[in-house]
């Protein structure tokens, strides 16, 4: 376990920089993680996805897959790839301050 500093706060992260404790997260931290990953401005559409990710994780204990995001977040998959390039489920989880989505085995 290591730590990183965002927006003046020290947070616990895994080897790939995913927060391990979602309670340490806040919106300023999200903005800094986004900027670090090439997203300069978090729009309302980004926040819709980020909040959906957090709510789902905090409720069920696991992050939603890209397919579930596409069906239930209110943002279609194509737009998810525009908002969070390459791996939307992974990148949105990182910005949302929740552990890396499982699966992919």
């Amino acid at each position: 376990m290591s730590t990183l500093s965002y927006a003046g706060t020290t947070v616990d992260v895994d080897a790939e920089g995913f927060l391990t404790d979602p309670q340490q997260w806040n919106e300023e931290i999200a903005a800094e993680i986004a900027a670090e990953n090439g997203i300069d401005q978090l729009t309302d559409r980004h926040w819709l996805v980020i909040n959906f990710m957090r709510d789902t994780y905090l409720e069920s204990g696991s992050a939603p897959s890209i397919r579930t995001l596409g069906k239930a977040s209110g943002v279609p998959i194509k737009e998810l790839y525009q908002l969070f390039p390459k791996g939307p489920a992974k990148l949105a989880a990182k910005i949302a301050g929740i552990p890396k989505p499982r699966g992919c085995i």
Binding site: T68, I77, K78, K86, C104, I105
Partner: protein
């Protein structure tokens, strides 16, 4: 009144669990297996059908015939599971009450979730090989295929046997070379992953094999739609790959009844279980085994087999009012066919990625890990009789323990080389 165990699914997991439990519990407990058809497919055989190396009729047997005497087989479609009532509701209106439920309904192929997949060109220039019907159609197309671009594309994880599309690519290279047309065919492996496989050391090794066989890898390709008429694959971020022959692995999800059953499954229709005890998080008297379970290990016959021991011991504990014990470690063991009468073997668990070495005995082997060899290929071929006669009856396979072992494995990969 005696107790009843209901098992949904008469495939690998359901069959071996039923037979094992019958032996373990005798006739004190009623065991009912429900399935919607009576065709048990030896799924590893599907890989060989497109190349004419296996006949479709050689890999299908009766489900009922694989179940021991005393196990009841019900041919019926499941509508849903009613967790509050401990009841399986069948589509014909009948119900099965249970003391313990085992969900062993596998994974379903969700063709319709990818736009255009079964549109124009389906079974012409657009194919798959995860069902008998698809594998036969692909066999006929491959027999005619002599020039152009062959694209192999697992659409997204999770899929059954995650190495199967790689094996398909290796076998296609061999098949086309044998026919003398390989020079005229370009093979592209388009994957949603960032490398050939999910685990780093094996990914590097398998990536090297793709390069050796002149198969181009197109990583991080997340397929959005398939256009059979134009012969192109389009990703969600609008990259395109043209093809003359496409071989996809469709998206996977759980069995349809799971999402109709309140509280039973996760967002993809798989059953969330404790990864070590296999007990469902939804109810203490519900378990899942095999592809139906949401576990961070490969969906494969070997992991299903290794889960059997833990599952059956825990079913008995729960029926006796005891707590389940966590002993499944994520162990999985896969042969990877690489063509030219050779195969690799990988062996890993939740904690350890596939490493080179020897299996099952530390020095004697005889099977080398993460390295191509003829003996591994023979091992893969020898497996089908073991499947029907040892694994489904619920026996352990001598010398192959359910628990993963690091003995014989080396943490630093060597250059290897074919034996």
């Amino acid at each position: 009144m005696g107790k009843r165990i209901a098992i949904i699914g008469g495939g690998t997991g359901g069959t071996l669990a039923a037979n094992r439990l019958r032996r373990q519990l005798g006739d004190e407990v009623e065991i009912v297996v429900v399935d919607r058809d009576d065709e048990h497919v030896y799924q590893p055989g599907l890989l060989f059908v497109p190349f004419g190396m296996e006949k479709p009729e050689g890999i299908v047997r009766s489900r009922k015939a694989q179940l021991h005497g005393g196990v009841e087989f019900r041919l019926a479609e499941v509508d849903r599971v009613d967790l509050a009532e401990d009841m399986v509701r069948l589509a014909d209106g009948e119900t099965i009450e249970y003391d313990v439920l085992i969900v062993a309904s596998g994974a379903s192929l969700l063709y319709e979730e990818t736009e255009g997949l079964r549109g124009p060109g389906w079974h012409e220039n657009v194919h798959a090989f995860y069902s008998v019907e698809d594998a036969v159609a692909l066999r006929d197309a491959l027999a005619q295929f002599e020039r152009g671009r062959l694209v192999v594309n697992p659409i997204d994880m999770p899929i059954k046997c995650p190495v199967a599309p790689l094996e398909f690519s290796f076998l296609a290279d061999w098949f086309l070379r044998e026919r003398g047309v390989r020079e005229q065919v370009e093979i592209v492996y388009a994957t949603p992953l960032d490398a050939a496989f999910t685990k780093p050391i094996a990914a590097e090794h398998l990536g090297g094999m793709l390069a050796e066989k002149e198969i181009r890898i197109e990583p991080e390709f997340a397929t959005g739609n398939v256009d059979g008429r134009e012969g192109k694959l389009v990703s969600w971020d609008e990259r395109e790959i043209e093809f003359d022959l496409l071989v996809t692995v469709p998206l996977h999800g759980g069995a349809p009844f799971v999402s109709r059953s309140e509280g039973l499954g996760d967002d993809l229709g798989f059953i969330a279980v404790d990864i070590h005890t296999l007990q469902s998080k939804a109810a203490p008297n519900v378990f899942a085994i095999g592809d139906a379970a949401s576990l961070p290990t490969s969906k494969a016959g070997s992991s299903t087999h290794f889960e059997g021991e833990t599952l059956c011991a825990n079913v008995e504990r729960v029926m006796n009012g005891e707590e389940p014990q966590g002993s499944y470690d994520g162990h999985v063991n896969c042969f990877i066919e690489s063509g030219f009468h050779k195969a690799l073997l990988i062996d890993f668990d939740y904690e350890h990625e596939p490493l080179p070495g020897r299996f099952p005995a530390a020095h004697a082997g005889p099977l080398p890990l993460l390295r191509e060899s003829r003996v591994n290929h023979l091992g893969k071929l020898a497996f089908q009789p073991l499947y029907w006669h040892m694994l489904l009856p619920g026996h352990d396979i001598p010398g192959i323990g359910a628990e993963f072992s690091l003995a014989g494995k080396r943490s630093t990969p060597d250059a290897g080389g074919a034996s």
